[in-house]
Amino acid sequence: MSYLADVATLARKDLRLELRARDTLPAMLLFVVSTLVVFHFALPAGADEMAAHGLLWVALIFTALLGLARAWAPERESGALEGLVLAPCDRSAIWLGKSLAVLVFLVAVQVVALPAFAAFFAPVGWETVAGVALASVGICTVGTLLAAMAAASRTRELILPLLFLPLAIPLVVGGVGASVSSEPLEFLAFLGLYDALFAILCWASFEYVVSE
């Protein structure tokens, strides 16, 4: 029980910081809308809805990257990570708390991005919403761990996309497939599998990323 309490405290801390400073979420929201506008001009006239559905995923992944690059910034800037690692709680709770906070950011972005997409391009079906929801879990679990790795390196923001994009390819496949396929369940199941596999792996290995 205390594990969940630790996780909730850590996630609440991140959300409260964001509510006070408001430096990540507004940037993500503005970014996702700008990207969708850019895509309107990038798609040649007569391009079909399928292409737009593909681009939606590009917008979501890149917006997530923007948020993930800032995920560990508060800890890094104030040197709080050492304190958290020394705190008497399971270290995977740090990862889970941060993932939950990132997930809240992603959901907030999608609440804006999906209606905007529906207004600008094409209607959004339940398959797309389900795909986005499942992919968000994968993005925040894997992304948070990779962002912690990137935060330990000298090239932080530069290296995160290089680490994240190859791992995001299966998510894009699952998401786009769920949006455009006639059998979305297969792709949704695949996304669920990805989430479960990588969540377990991240949960088990986070400790090694932050400890020496």
Partner: protein, 234 residues
């Protein structure tokens, strides 16, 4: 001195013998592939690259798996040397992975007239792996040497072995909807000689990879010992 532990590394004198064996086997494999194996009725001479392309790809997988295994040993606290061994194995895997992309591309050009085909699952998978493991090196070399770097490299190498089946499944799934299959490669209907040639080539490439792994490991350990000595003297 913690860098080298002689009990588990080959004696130095055996590395040249290993290298000689690898060179001999590669020579034998080339001889078999070009002069002994019969010409493929469909594809002609270009099919002969199969004897190198497929063993190289299998060896690359083996190297990535080996690297992940060493990474796991490192994370389980078995010792510092596993970090270096994991790195060298991933390095070999990346080299052989690049060779797979190169030979696959040449084969695709010879068979279908295109340097790149998104329909070739294995090639696409190697492209994803190539990107993934290239980032491994960028990550590793942008973290200061020490236990932190060893741990992070090990966790990333472990991600690789999970990514391989997940990506493969993803590419297969994508093919059904996003890119329908146009070309299919004939399943190798191998005759006895062809299969023998394939086995010799596989053995040759694996031995070559192992010899290279040992040589690089020897060099890296020598480097580390030298650095320690220098620090002790200064």
């Amino acid at each position: 001195m913690s860098t080298s532990s002689p009990n588990n590394s080959l004696p130095k004198s055996r590395v040249p013998a290993l290298a000689a064996a690898a060179a001999g086997l590669v020579g034998l494999a080339i001889f078999f592939a070009f002069f002994v194996a019969p010409e493929d009725a469909d594809q002609g001479i270009s099919q002969r690259i199969f004897y190198f392309h497929v063993p190289i790809a299998l060896t690359a997988y083996a190297c990535f798996g080996w690297g992940a295994w060493k990474a796991l040993q490192h994370l389980r606290g078995k010792g510092e040397r596993y970090d270096l061994e994991s790195y060298v194995a991933v390095h070999m895997g990346t080299i052989f992975g690049s060779l797979t992309l190169l030979t696959g591309s040449i084969w695709a050009k010879a068979s279908w007239g295109h340097w790149w085909l998104w329909e070739e699952d294995q090639l696409v998978l190697f492209l994803v792996l190539f990107l993934f493991y290239s980032a491994y090196f960028m990550l590793r070399f942008s973290i200061d040497e020490g236990p932190r770097r060893a741990n992070i490299s090990a966790v990333y190498a472990l991600f690789g072995v999970v990514l391989v089946p997940v990506s493969f499944l993803a590419i297969r799934l994508a093919e059904n909807v996003i890119h329908p299959t146009v070309f299919t490669r004939e399943g190798p209907q191998m005759t006895g000689t062809m299969f023998l040639t394939f086995c010799i080539a596989w053995l040759a490439i694996t031995t070559l990879a192992y010899a290279l792994y040992r040589v690089e490991l020897l060099g890296k350990r020598l480097d580390a010992n030298l650095r320690e000595l220098r620090e002790a003297l200064s």
